[in-house]
Symmetry: C2
Subunit: 354 residues, 2 copies
Amino acid sequence: MTVSHNKSRPVRAVVYGVGEMGSIVTRLLVERGAEIVGAIARSETKVGRDLGEVAGLGQLLGVTIEDNPAAVLRRGADIAVVCVGSYLETMRPHFAACLENGVNVVTIEEETVFPWTTAPDHAKFLDLMAKANGVTLAASGAQDVFWLNLVTTLLGASHRIDQVIGHSVWNVDDYGPEVARHLHIGTTREEFEQHVADHGWPEFVARQTLEAMISRLGLSIGSINSTVTPLIVVEPVYCRALGFEVPPGALIGTVDRTEVASVEGPSFSFTMEGRIHRKGEVDSNTWQVFGEPDLVLSNDRVPTRFITCSTLVNRIVDVIEAPPGLVSLNMLGAPAFRPRLVLNAADETFSKST
Amino acid sequence: MTVSHNKSRPVRAVVYGVGEMGSIVTRLLVERGAEIVGAIARSETKVGRDLGEVAGLGQLLGVTIEDNPAAVLRRGADIAVVCVGSYLETMRPHFAACLENGVNVVTIEEETVFPWTTAPDHAKFLDLMAKANGVTLAASGAQDVFWLNLVTTLLGASHRIDQVIGHSVWNVDDYGPEVARHLHIGTTREEFEQHVADHGWPEFVARQTLEAMISRLGLSIGSINSTVTPLIVVEPVYCRALGFEVPPGALIGTVDRTEVASVEGPSFSFTMEGRIHRKGEVDSNTWQVFGEPDLVLSNDRVPTRFITCSTLVNRIVDVIEAPPGLVSLNMLGAPAFRPRLVLNAADETFSKST
């Protein structure tokens, strides 16, 4: 395609995954002026229907949801916005389909935030595939603004850092029955502890977030320790996602904590508390820095689910403009508000260099 | 000077101004490994004495404070850290002395944060002089992390911005008698209002901060309105900076507010409340974003005076590496923690391009 100098044109995007998050993303893409050139889903209840209808936009978009990724991705999109799963193990074939068709990827998949230690083989493979095809794979979401970049910006006021402690609270009921079941909502403490003893417990995004932060700060990792603790209620709490009341003595959530000691001295801790909110409870994000000086940052009433999508959409142009490869979150610059999803002539002729 | 490849060496800094802020900066420079190659002050009580003694470090630094800027600046410093005054009108000759001697400048002078509309002639002159000499002039301080970059990072989670409202509280008693007198602490409401009617009231850093933010967001300024309101006490409050008790009915501070409407729609407001803190009161920083979604950010117990200095010191390498010219705060990247003030071989051979 040829564009005249100084002209801009809309970003051409593929919506890859049309669940709850993909549906929000679809609306944001439309409202910011992106051109949606395709949509991909697996569910028989979605394939063949119009994306606008499935995403609940109240309007047809003229984009039919398809189940053949390669066919959609060969249409020359700038970027695929991928909202499918949470670990690189399951996401690798989806990312590979985009990359080998020359399409950049921005995703809410949490491991890609910093995959170099938890999934090094997948990360290296996808990094090479992205570079070979001159495109970029990167992740964004709540961790981008609230858990990484607000904190590293705050540390720009530090003279000496001894300890960084983060605590984020999110509402399990906002993420549907799959997430609620994953957290074992409604089981007893004994059942939960037996499950963890038998099957282990996957490290959550807290680890990737801290690893990205430590890498951004130029520090080296000395030790990493992750733990999970069940949150037990004393009074019954209704779980909207699962449609039943959690009785006293049962789980309404988990506290996932990762602690990292750096070789150079500063230590880091991030606690993610996912639980069913009771009336009046809200998502929050708090970071404390101990050192010279002590610093604190907090965000109340964080609409975690929505900002996961809006931050992702704000990153689209950054990812298109980034160097090729798997670009973990520590490697991207500061997030910014992007009111219009347009590329100018400079982007159009942009030749990514390794 | 020739350095071998991949070697690093300390930043060579000049301390320009050895008042309260310059003294804090001196300690931070020493603790981060900078090489202080000179110190400049005017006061007869300081000139000829050792910088370490005047700055209260409890150790001699072997650096004698001098009153001839040109002589000091010709010694080949990488950067002058300038803590002297608050407006470009008075600071222009100081900055010019650094720039024409090929020395980069980082300063807490507030107008340089975004000088293009309030002091356009001085800004243009200094921009040209910096470019002609291949060096950079930039400002940092509390506004860098807390009032600009934390906010623009937060906006990286916005889908639509309607209104951005900031409110920062700082303790007048932390800044000595000159600032307290400048704010007319202890006068009556009538005296204050008469003064403003007779002499006007200088726009404070709120305006430059909002202009930098709006420029960073790629928006255009529609209208600007700045107001000042006296803060009157009902119970007596002791003013440490002036050494007397402010009686009921008199001023303990001012509320400076700037409101900016952008041409594109979003509006911005920033209120700076400088007042004598009563027991238990602390500096704070709060920003609210109305739009989709609504967002909030707050920092409690901000040690405003100290972080003004520590943020400045963290910016030194950024300013040395920035393109030549007057680089207003919207043009600098995200602030970052810089544990060591060292330049590597790449910086050494760094040739700034216009």
